[in-house]
């Protein structure tokens, strides 16, 4: 009551003040500004990819709304009468004709189509990079596990939004993509054909699919994405933002700038920067030139038919899968049942579902896998440098390699033509790499991370090599090491490095099987370890140096240079 009398007592003197006070006394805006305006966000460029994803999503909503004004998702047959000469009079669907009209006969239409498509590619790319940042810095740990799950779901919804949008123009390329989806769906045992007929309203391609995908693309999926973004940001506010370790940064504070005025200005400006970049790209570079591909017709498949980049890895897995191994082993199994022979097309089912299943399951489960292994249930608001969590980093690199090999396989034909190699050889090599690559990637990444830790340790103890070689009066050559300053050293020494632990017996002196398994996993994670520099080591190395340097006046002067 006292607050309301306080507001009533306040009499603004200017017109703006009166309007502001009117609004504020009715919606309580100043309370929100006070709360959010003082929210602190740490400053680091790797923290901005989530923002890029958010902004590209806003661009997608704006440009997509424009496109819905002119797009007609009908599969009725028509003859194109628009201004693009090489297709005039050609029989096509109304959906494709309206896409062409947007491109050639709606003012600004082609630009808006390109803005929409380019920002879609950037949206998923920013999502992916954001998730890589979160993974490699350990930002998914408690209390942020659920937000990591929400983020992964957002990525999956992003793929769904992209794919449904890619299929809408009903050109040859999008139809080829749908045909692959149809094939994958049909390869699901028993229910596959039913799902396919339900999805397409009969045999592929039917006359229903574009309208259905349109509803998913402009209504359901964006609504789910918006909801998830809301949850995602709400949780960010609740959890506060993570920060990189550094002097003065602890698990209980956030060091950075407040939202108001610094971040509000930066973030608002950054939205326009992202929009500007997308607009500049869209103005200068064409994307999905649907007029090249012609109307969809189930018979032709053009060379260079690929999905957009984020579906590429699944297409690549399909390309890598052999139909047969040797002359006898066939992945198409004909299984006799009492009612007849049923076909199980593992050559389609396996590559289409298994790699994506592995990647997404591991991604969703990872926060719990890691906390199970480390027994670490504490809250973490300080990030790890990737080198300080060698096994996690190595797992991430293995995942990236696995993904990228399949991704490359989706462009195997272009690799063959542009690097003048045989398409078959590209496929053989990538088949080997998709299995061996993640293992090699894991080993190299872990070794590199450990080596970087050793280097950090060396620098913390002995300083930076300056490259200055000095000859002492008695003839000895030494290289001058420059000690790092305290702030820098803090970063190099202040990290946690768990050790592998032996299985622990329960109250009855019994060591359970899961405890043994956990201990084995812990050894795998933490056996190879570079111990962080301890204060006593640091002290010893420093006093050692001082002892040496104190020997002669010369050295004292050299060290101070």
């Amino acid at each position: 009551m006292s607050s309301s009398t306080a507001i009533n007592a306040y009499q603004p003197k200017t017109r703006v003040g009166r309007v502001t006070n009117f609004v504020d006394s009715r919606v309580g805006g100043s309370g929100m500004v006070k709360e959010f305006g003082r929210k602190i966000f740490p400053d680091h460029w790797t923290f901005m990819f989530g923002e890029v994803a958010l902004y590209t999503f806003v661009i997608l909503l704006i440009s997509g709304t424009f496109l819905t004004f002119f797009f007609d998702p009908s599969m009725a047959e028509t003859h194109y009468e628009g201004s693009y000469l090489p297709l005039r009079g050609v029989e096509m669907s109304v959906a494709y004709a309206s896409s062409l009209d947007i491109s050639f006969d709606v003012r600004g239409g082609l630009f808006m189509r390109q803005v929409h498509h380019w920002s879609a590619l950037l949206f998923v790319a920013a999502n992916a990079v954001h998730m890589l940042r979160v993974f490699f810095t350990g930002a998914f740990r408690r209390p942020r596990e659920l937000n990591w799950v929400v983020g992964t779901t957002l990525l999956i919804m992003g793929l769904a939004a992209g794919f449904t949008g890619y299929s809408l123009p009903d050109d040859l390329l999008s139809g080829n993509g749908l045909r692959i989806i149809d094939g994958v769906v049909k390869s699901i045992p028993v229910i596959g054909t039913y799902i396919s007929f339900f999805l397409f309203g009969g045999e592929f391609p039917g006359t229903a699919i574009i309208g259905r995908l349109y509803v998913l693309h402009i209504l359901l999926i964006p609504a789910v994405i918006l909801l998830l973004i809301g949850i995602h940001l709400f949780m960010v506010v609740i959890h506060k933002h993570t920060q990189y370790p550094g002097p003065g940064r602890t698990n209980t504070n956030v060091v950075g700038y407040p939202v108001g005025p610094v971040y509000a200005a930066k973030a608002g400006g950054f939205f326009f920067i992202v929009f500007g970049i997308v607009a500049a790209i869209s103005a200068a570079f064409t994307i999905n030139p649907i007029w090249n591909y012609g109307p969809y017709d189930p018979s032709p498949v053009s060379a260079g038919t690929q999905p957009d980049w984020y579906i590429g890895w699944v297409d690549g897995a399909l390309r890598l899968m052999p139909g047969t191994v040797g002359s006898n082993w066939d992945f198409e199994w004909n299984i006799p049942f009492p009612w007849g022979v049923n076909t199980l097309s593992l050559n389609v089912l396996f590559p289409a579902l298994v790699p994506a299943g592995i990647v997404f399951t591991l991604m969703l489960a990872w926060p719990w896998i890691e906390s199970w292994v480390t027994k670490d249930k504490r809250e973490h608001h300080l990030l790890d440098r990737p080198r300080n969590a060698p096994t996690r980093t190595a797992v991430g690199v293995a995942g990236v390699v696995f993904y990228c090999v399949m991704w490359a396989a989706a462009s195997s034909d272009l690799i063959a033509t542009h690097f003048l190699v045989s398409l078959n050889d590209v496929t053989y090599w990538l088949r080997i790499l998709v299995i061996v690559g993640p293992v090699i990637g894991f080993m190299i990444a872990r070794r590199v991370a450990l080596a970087l830790q050793r280097k950090d340790r060396e620098i913390a103890l002995h300083g930076r090599e300056t490259g200055r070689i000095v000859r002492l009066p008695h003839g000895e050559f030494i290289e001058v090491h420059e000690p790092v300053d305290e702030y820098k050293r803090y970063q190099l020494v202040s990290f946690e490095s768990p050790e592998a632990y032996a299985p622990v017996a329960d109250g009855n002196g019994h060591v359970s099987r899961s405890e043994k398994l956990r201990s084995r996993a812990s050894r795998f994670f933490f056996e190879d370890r570079v111990a962080p520099v301890t204060p006593s080591e640091l002290h010893a190395s420093h006093s050692g140096h001082h002892g040496e340097i104190a020997n002669t006046q010369d050295r004292e002067s050299i060290a101070s240079h």
Partner: protein, 263 residues
């Protein structure tokens, strides 16, 4: 007539009948295939052309294709390939072959137009084959690009790409980009099927339809890319590469700038 019916159970009657049937099928086939032959020899070469061509052939081609173009282990026989084939292979710079490989590569043309014509005249004398097409059928402005586009997508795009940017085939072979190919070479490629390309004879795609295909190719070549730089017309791969390298690169540059401290 009576004599014929009396001998119908003769032991050799069946063989005679079979022979007659075979002859008939052969005759129909040859009539049909000559109808499919891409045009008759319309361009007339002089006897002198063929003579000069034979000399050029012996000096430049015979080491692989054999004397008299009858073929060897290093190169196929050229009997019956027609003048169009020679005009395409030599005129586009694929022959003489630069090196062994999965497929003949294009290189600078080695013979003058006159010499190419003489070589074509010589090979044409070895056996009937597709001739060099007439000027009027090559006139792209007379064709219907919309019909040509449909034919191109159904017959050509699976190897050459919907935007004629080229594509990969097995074991290092490829379908080249058609950008910059002359009308004559496009037509000759269709009727002769060079490298791994199938033959599209006149029964398969009529000369008028071939003209439409040429009209389509020339239209998309001349109109350029309506939406800006086409990134090689290679589809989503080059687009994805571009957004990851250029798009994300510029974004990262800005993020670094925004979070840098003023010194």
């Amino acid at each position: 007539m009576k004599a014929l019916s009396q001998r119908r159970r003769h032991p050799l009657a069946a063989i005679a009948l079979l022979l007659m049937a075979l002859l008939m099928v052969g005759a129909i086939y040859s009539a049909a295939s000559s109808a499919n032959q891409a045009q008759a020899q319309t361009e007339s070469f002089s006897a002198n052309d063929a003579e000069e061509g034979e000399k050029l052939f012996a000096a430049n081609c015979a080491s692989c294709h054999g004397l008299g173009a009858s073929g060897s282990s290093a190169g196929p026989s050229l009997v019956g390939v027609g003048a169009a084939s020679v005009d395409f292979q030599v005129g586009s710079g694929r022959m003489p072959l630069q090196m062994d490989g999965p497929q003949a590569q294009v290189k600078p043309v080695q013979f003058t137009e006159e010499q190419t014509r003489q070589l074509a005249a010589y090979v044409a004398t070895l056996g009937a084959g597709p001739a060099i097409p007439d000027e009027e059928i090559l006139d792209a402005s007379e064709g219907d690009p919309a019909n040509g586009g449909e034919l191109f997508r159904v017959n050509c795009a699976m190897c050459h790409n919907a935007a004629a940017a080229g594509g990969a085939l097995t074991r290092g072979k490829f379908a080249p980009s058609l950008e910059g190919s002359s009308e004559k070479h496009i037509y000759e490629a269709m009727v002769t099927g060079p490298q791994n390309m199938p033959v599209f004879n006149d029964a398969n795609i009529s000369p008028e339809d071939k003209q439409d295909v040429i009209a389509f190719l020339k239209t998309i070549e001349e109109q350029g890319s309506p939406g800006g730089a086409d990134l090689g017309s290679l589809g989503p791969v080059s687009e994805g590469l571009f957004i990851w390298v250029a798009g994300l690169g510029v974004v990262i540059a800005f993020t670094v700038w925004l979070t840098s401290r003023s010194s």
